[in-house]
Assembly symmetry: C3
Homo-oligomer: 471 residues x 3
């Protein structure tokens, strides 16, 4: 009877084994157990318990070995040569594991809204400047670092009458000369100009930016020293007319030799505290047959140009630009002075100049990030993104005063000062809302326009907002 | 002799073991077998068989443990933070595993061909309208949902004189107000207008679409209730002149307050059967200094505008638009009536209006998919894609009648009716070929153009085809 | 004492086991060891050694089984339906594992710089042709092969006044007819025209390319036979005016029936040695109301058109174009003759024609790759990429002579010959620098312009360089 029970029991266990893995042989441990049992070295209880355990181990091993196929199928998907892992890091990035290939595809959209209120005298000149809305910038780009030493970028602005933005090829890490770049890109001149429009503290660059050359077709060498505590860049460019917005390629006959040096005498905790000093210089060789002029809007893009010199002939122009910036945690200060020394074929030299100074403070504790390799400011990343459930994003307050004097030697365009207040709300690293108030003050005592004395000067109040996404 | 044979045999087995895994130690099971054998508890045969088995298990275990490295290398490729899995789902999609980041990159190309046959009287007005071909639309877009609560889109049409299409930022799932959108996008008005041009049943929207405002710069709130059985949207927009195709930003002085409500009183089997009811309303605040006009082509883009009112001054306009759509499996019906009530600074109010009704039937059994979140129609997906080996794609037949009356109170632009037949061949979810016949009937009894009575009215026959890919 | 030591020792081992895997049960092998030890069948030393081994095996097994979760998480990332593996293969590619979905996103940038030196006589006609720089091409494209049998492409050139480039839908592998393409793409005419501008040996196509039709809206069938040793293509297109660069869609009234046949009588080692023969033919049906003209620049894009016929009426034109190319390792030769036989409504038939021949040699041993499916040349891939550390890239030298005769029957436009030298430096498969010297010789004995005899002919020397990236 007992034997029968035992046989039944063993039979059931065996049946159970067959049901779960009918065609599978026992593993070695199970076989040893059989032997031990046959030799009477283990009890029935031990045998049964260990048999179940051995089976479980075997199944585990089988599962692990089944992974092989899964992993092979995954490798088929992602094991290609130069596989690029797509991921989001303040934008779409595609990187190879060895770092030799890095692609970015993205763009930016800036939608501006503005309201103007002008004094009676100004209205006499410009008429009523109404409210308005526009796409300030609407860009797409593709960018890549490939084969470990080549970088390229192509960027197009659909909202601009001068739509070619960055479009260049760069050979990186050349011996002695550092990086060599050819194509259409920003001349190395002015901290504010070289800070991307995505990262500007105010909606518009300041008044003296009229002396910065922006993007031109040319070549540039740039490098950095001393653990990136200093950068140096030198370039040679074919310029469109710097006084007009319409840069036409190949027709202007102006060549620029441009250089910029930056230094970080103080740099703590990856930029939490820093002092930036810079000096940019540009010598513009002018074609004597062309005339140029300088003109500028107030710090609001939907308005008209408040100051404008007459057109005049030029031999060459020297542009100087010392830069200072200080970051101390959430607080920062920035100052630049820009000046143009014009050498004319006839008549005395002229000097136009301007400056700006601004301060910014993050109420939420972030700071303005500084990029050492380029010597310019970078993307603000909120400590907490806005998520509709408590996360607020980052809040920044800023104030700026800027001045532009285009009066000299009878070639007068007027004198304009701007005082601005700014509030920036960064919802996350890629989306921000900006609100700017600008008081534009056209000097009434020394009021010129296109060379003529005029009495239609005075103040304008401008409120403008920007909705920005960059991706 | 026998011992020698045995020793030889054991030697060979051992040699075999060493050849395959020369430097590897035995696993525990093998060692136990050695002990059992040394103790004489297992036979030679048992020992040899189990030894081989133990070796096989060991190799399996080694292989499984070798996976570790492979998996680590895969993780290096695809385990980045916010890794985006690229895949094709009616277009290129890049999704993070947590669903917080979803990107799309794509576009559409529509190449149209058309042949016109006009009656003698019409030719008197428009001359001979020849055959032609054009890119009706050629768009690229980038779109993303990022950080779980922000959506953006940038879309550009290279074939349009008004190339900015969707370009907006959306903050999703705000408490109380739902989604908030700012930028350039479609005003919430008219089912046909809000159905993407990729998914339209006919090549062109119907005649009364002249009263829909299309895309403008502005802000919108939208939400849905009752398990998406009803949607509500309200927006405020700065409008270009609705009567001209050339929408210029910021200059028109027209502001639109626009709202739309939709309801699904009947909705079965995920839209296999449904009744859609909608009501759109727009109040346009006009700048009294501008004049407007209404004008429209027949339902064919390569032809001239058959009806056109004179220009006139406007105080404000109320636009009404009730919508009805029914889907019953492969069959569907759609009807809209659009009307403009014009309040003028001088003279009586004017009413212009129009309507359309169409039916469609899928010979191959598909249906027109309805998207509950937007209250509009969506992408048709054939049951079998065309593959050149039996798969046919989807075939749809459709007929439409539409009418537009631009005659009222002496400000007459003419009355136009269109009857259309359509055949759509969907090769797969992304490619389709469309063939349309349009009979455009310019009312001869009540024939006006730019306010003048004229006798150059009559009928035109138009055959047009479209090759479309969207991706 | 000895027992105490032993107990301590066992205790420590046990403690060690507990510390590393406190909650884990022993595996079967360990349990068997326990039994063997309890039965006195193994020594203490054996027991301890094997116990450690058993533990190690168990840990290994546990690690392998832990992979399961990792692999599942990877599968979540990359196991989506139609997962597209992004990778770099001379550009960004996204491929599904089954090969049914293949996407490409990319573009090209070509930045040209040029200097002209013209003889006095030529300056009388064209003025001083200065130096200049431009974006010759700046394109973006998206391309896909989807559902296994559909291909599409959309390509836009931001630097061109005729910005639509490839924009088509292709149905592949149809029975009998091969591939069917509809949209905007190159007519099947001329080897040099069908070789992408990315892969041209010289910066510009040769003078007789004025007779090639380039891209037009239309349909095409194409296929290949005999293991791709021969290709055949036939298409029907609506043409813009072939004599003007400004192709307008739908207005020209010119239709082209175009066909091309190619043959590889000799093809060794995947194209290391080959002879290509081709014949293109185009019949252009002209609208009698339009006038046309032929005009051409020297082989430099920034200069003016040196030769130009007067405008004249046309019935139809037959274009003939035999092609020959030979590749022999790093050396290659290419020759084409193009001719236009013009049938006029009044007056005798006219024949204009031209030819070019060029040779190229790779100093670094590469060769010009030939693509059998299209019967045209393809991307050069350097044996070693330029890396700033010894890798040089590929260097190619080339010389070309080309001639264009636009004088016949009194409808004279002049006769122009060009001799060119070229140096190409391929840094890697995607970046190259080109340097061209062109001597353009306007025939002085037979000097016409717009039908008029003139004495302002002579030679021009042009040096031009191109920086190119395609991605």
């Amino acid at each position: 009877m007992r034997r029968l029970g035992l046989a039944l029991c063993v039979g059931l266990v065996a049946a159970g084994l067959f049901m779960t893995r009918p065609a599978q042989a026992k593993n070695v441990a199970a076989e040893i157990l059989d032997i031990l049992k046959a030799n009477g070295q283990i009890s029935e209880q031990q045998y049964r318990d260990l048999m179940i355990k051995a089976q479980a181990e075997d199944e585990k091993a089988a599962a692990a070995s089944g992974l092989n196929q899964k992993v092979e199928s995954l490798e088929k998907n992602v094991g290609k040569k130069n596989f690029l892992a797509a991921h989001w890091k303040s934008g779409l990035r595609l990187d190879s594991a060895d770092g030799k290939f890095k692609l970015k595809i993205g763009g930016r959209v800036q939608n501006d809204w503005s309201v103007y209120s002008t004094r009676k005298k100004l209205r006499r000149r410009f008429g009523r400047i109404g409210d308005g809305t526009e796409f300030r910038r609407a860009r797409l780009f593709m960018e890549g670092s490939v084969y470990g030493n080549i970088k390229y970028k192509m960027q197009y602005d659909f909202a601009s009458s001068d739509p070619f933005k960055d479009a260049y090829i760069q050979v990186k890490k050349l011996p002695l000369v550092g990086n060599f770049t050819v194509g259409h890109f920003k001349e190395p001149f002015s901290l504010e100009e070289l800070t991307s429009s995505k990262y500007l503290t105010f909606m518009e660059r300041s008044l003296p930016n009229v002396f910065a050359s922006g993007r031109n077709l040319g070549v540039r060498f740039n490098t950095s020293f001393f653990d990136k505590r200093t950068t140096a860049a030198f370039g040679f460019f074919r310029d469109g007319n710097p006084a007009d917005t319409d840069t036409t390629f190949g027709n202007s006959g102006i060549y620029n030799a441009t250089t910029r040096l930056t230094l970080l005498p103080w740099y703590q905790e990856k930029g939490k505290q820093l002092v930036h000093l810079g000096l940019s210089y540009r010598h513009a060789f002018h074609d004597k047959t062309n005339q140029i002029r300088f003109r500028q809007r107030p710090e609001a893009h939907l308005g008209p140009r408040f100051v404008e010199t007459p057109k005049f002939h030029v031999d060459d122009i020297d542009y100087f630009n010392p830069e200072v910036a200080v970051v101390y945690g959430p607080a920062s200060l920035q100052f630049e002075w820009l000046s143009a020394l014009v050498d004319r074929p006839a008549g005395d030299d002229i000097q136009y100049d301007g400056y700006y100074i601004f301060g910014s403070f993050f109420l939420t504790g972030e700071r303005r990030p500084y990029k050492t390799s380029s010597g310019a400011f970078d993307r603000v990343k909120p400590k907490n993104n806005f998520d509709g459930r408590g996360g607020l994003g980052a809040l920044e307050l800023a104030a700026r005063y800027s001045m532009l004097d285009l009066n000299d030697e009878g070639l007068n365009g007027g004198e304009l000062a701007n005082f601005s207040l700014g509030l920036n709300w960064y919802l996350n690293p890629n989306v921000r809302f900006m609100l700017n108030y600008v008081r534009a003050m056209l000097d009434e005592d020394d009021c010129y326009y296109k060379g003529n004395m005029t009495d239609s000067c005075g103040d304008a109040d401008i409120v403008q907002a920007r909705f920005q996404v960059d991706f």
